[in-house]
Amino acid sequence: MSDEIGRWDRREVVTRLGSAALAAGAVLAGVAFFHDRRRDVPARRKVPDWRAVGVPPRVVAARGGEPAANVRRAVAALGGMERFVRRGERVVVKPNVGWDRLPEQAANTDPEVVAELVRLCLAAGAAQVVVTDISCNDPRRCFARSGIAAAAAAAGAVVVESGRLRLVPADLAGLAEGIEVAEAVLAADRVINVPVVKHHRLSRATLGMKNWFGVLGPGRNRLHQSIHRAIAELAATFKPTLTVVDATRVLLANGPQGGSLGDVRGVGAVAVGTDPVLCDAWGGVQLGLRPAELPFLREAEQRGLGRTDTALVEDLGTA
């Protein structure tokens, strides 16, 4: 210690300067370590391509039977589910479970169509089949009242309501910033898109390509500002193993959630295919809309995502 004010001995000078240097060094090291440490943007997951290799683009329609029988016949005509789902794969079946409506109201995919797909996937050796969708209404009510939760679970699927989904940033370059995607879908080996055919005021029809809205999180409502481009972009981003268009019942008006049974027409048909654009073109016809009347189909065809000539659909007719 110094004996009087103003006079420090060497030992104290060294100690003080040393500790000051240590403190300054620690601060500098901290600054150097933390400065702009998290400059990187969060990693965006790439959306995988779920298509089966070596399968030509085809669409097969079956009508007349029970919904499950239609699905079975159409899938068999495409070569059976084994052609698309391999042993041990994890499959996501993505129906439209958007609304708190009963199956008769045709706002959601028919539960029997979903259940039959689950059974076919499991029979083909799938390790796990997840049925999920990000609903617009309260997901608990949507999954319960649509009949999909019960039917899919009975068929052996894992039913995940949107409240239990984890959303992650994904590479949606052509869409909008900040929209996240359900991780369970991105993590799947195979994805089967199962839309229902419905009227929609803005896009005129909501079919398979629009059904991808249901894997997107908050912010998807901004995509309506350019709906046809957004739908084509979704088709370019999400490439399903199969598209199964459910026209068991179609909703002709007050879509996409309907309500009145007077707006529902029983068509009793299902189309299964590997050409998502052609699938939607077929779906539009079930609503009485020619492909030329649906701009998103034209846009998708121009981008080379598929074809719109509905004469290419192989109709198996009634059973």
């Binding site: 209404n137 608990r140 009510r141 929609h200 309506h224 959630q257």
Partner: protein, 493 residues
Amino acid sequence: MSWTTRIRVVYQAFFLALFIALLERLAAGDPRDLPASAFFHADPLAAVAVVLSSATLPGALVWGAALLALTVVFGRVFCGWVCPLGTLQQFASWLLSPRSRRESLAANRYRRWYATKTYVLAALLLAAAAGTVQTGLLDPLATLARGLASGAWPVLPGGRPVPGGWLAAALLLAVVISSRWLPRVFCRALCPLGALLGIFARFSLFRIARRGEACSTCTLCTFACQGADEPLGEHRPSECHVCLNCTTTCPEGALQYRFLPSPPARPAQPDLARRYLIGSALAGLVAAPILRATGGGRQVADPRLLRPPGARAEPDFLARCIKCSLCQQACPTGALQPAIGQAGVEGLWTPVLVPRRGWCEFACTRCGEVCPTGAIERLTAPRKTGYDGGEPVRIGTAFVDRGRCLPWAMKTPCIVCEEMCPTDPKAIWVETLEEPTRDGGTIFLQRPWVEPQRCVGCGICEHRCPVGEEAAIRVFSVGESRDPLNRIVLPVR
């Protein structure tokens, strides 16, 4: 631990677990018909207050009479064996405050200001008679349910934020933590339900009796006395929680919980000063009109005071709502929030629907199903939606803000509101028109219009409107079914 204590702890743990489990099932949306509001149905404080304010005893609240009968037979067993908030305080007191014997004796001594709860009760009941139910502010069951619904569930993983909930959570926390300094001080000094039960406990058939000749005045009985009811002195049945700690700790066996013991020489009177009692009752009476004057929607409808579907007209609603937050906990979309300012001081913590937080699910009737007092009437889905052929139950009307709406203000397609609209046919319809654009071209636009006769005010349009913070379509209370004068248009006939 004696066997009576063990049994009591089992009871307390069971009822606390049951209370929390019922809240958890509500939040999880359990579709089964569970007795979610059973605790509140047996709450005689709610029953008395609602009877005083609305001159009717709604349905299941008659179970409050069962609790009063139980109290007349056994004393305040509800407080010591059932009340989940009492259990939490007792647990906090045990956990947070290891007291020495001397400190415990001091902490469990009776204090004259423990009579405050009776003054609080008098003020609350007189206010109820004057038309404003405020018992929920301090009702122990409401305090606990509200504090958990607003403070605990929102911070659990996956919980929905309740911006106004911190105040309710803070009250609950304060009640529980205060036991660190004085065990069960809320029960002893503030709880209006305890005070009400205490009035009946004075006449209880079973009570603690002391055999004076056996007592060595060792004071061990006071050591763990929950109610601070002086088992050693002139025992006060109106304060006693019947925890039975005194009977089991007495080394001489001088204290017993017995049927109709011989009365003491001078029965303990409640420690009430008549002028305070009259004063607090008058305070309640005077506070009532002042509180009613603050009511946001009482005389003049408030534009953003959206009440749950089936809610009664504002004065009737406020005459029944006990601020228990069960509706908020049951709401599947998180739309119901505890009011902080929207309903005036009087309506603090009453449920208000905030569309930016959630929407009223079209066919959902859960809030009315769990409301213990019928402030929100029980609806069926066909009745609420109008599918039974009647008028649907409306909570307001949506208005398009043409200055913010994309097709109206920015010539940009959108109509998400129309897509979401749940009515059949949709209350939101669109007009299609071809509009010139800035660069000389044209664009097809669909502009949304609201048909007020169809709109039920569910608010899903406002919730899902893509225009950032403040939506371009907003719901206001005008058109709500519960107020026939808060209207815009004549109904279609």
